[in-house]
Symmetry: C2
Subunit: 113 residues, 2 copies
């Protein structure tokens, strides 16, 4: 992981349709979704979807595989993980006591930070 890849990941999630697409894909783990289903679920044209999936794919945040006539997309969790870890390391490295929240995101304690 490096700055450029991390920024690219952020860019790719910095668009409402792409963000929703990524979240939808996560909800459909581990199967993934066909491009058509995804386009319909998001209410955008196939062409627009391809464009946005391309952005996500270049950021390595989704995988695509063909199955019959369809292309099935799924989120690249390891890459997402790498991005978050990279971003958060700067925080916790220097000040573990100040911002140790990566270790308990779904486990918030009142009075933190």
């Amino acid at each position: 992981m490096n700055d450029q890849l991390a920024v690219e990941a952020m860019v790719s999630l910095g668009h409402a349709d792409r963000f929703r697409a990524f979240r939808l894909l996560m909800r459909h783990l581990p199967d993934g979704l066909r491009a058509g289903e995804l386009a319909e679920a998001l209410g955008i044209s196939p062409s627009a979807l391809t464009f946005h999936l391309g952005v996500l794919k270049r950021a390595k945040l989704v995988h695509a595989r063909r199955s019959q006539r369809s292309i099935i997309y799924s989120p690249a969790l390891d890459q997402m993980h790498a991005v978050l870890e990279f971003l958060m390391n700067d925080c916790c490295q220097g000040n573990p006591q100040v911002c140790g929240f990566m270790g308990r995101a779904s486990n918030k304690v009142a009075g933190d930070h």
Copy 2:
């Protein structure tokens, strides 16, 4: 937290200078950095820095306070936390066994995922 705020956070981190700025601020917790220091550290003009800090500020990812003649910026950890939690909930909610990585970002185990 909602889609729009989360997307805005992603947008604001989707630029090399803003990304570096945010990370720098995290490394300088809990004190923060003066705008001038930040601009110099990043090697960009004060005017450009203001633009980028504005984007981060609208996304609620940084706080600003005045101290003497300077404005001191610091990262809004709680907002960052909220964004990550929001994004990751979609993943773990439906398939905790598939992607439970938020709970151990700095604690990776071989063979995960």
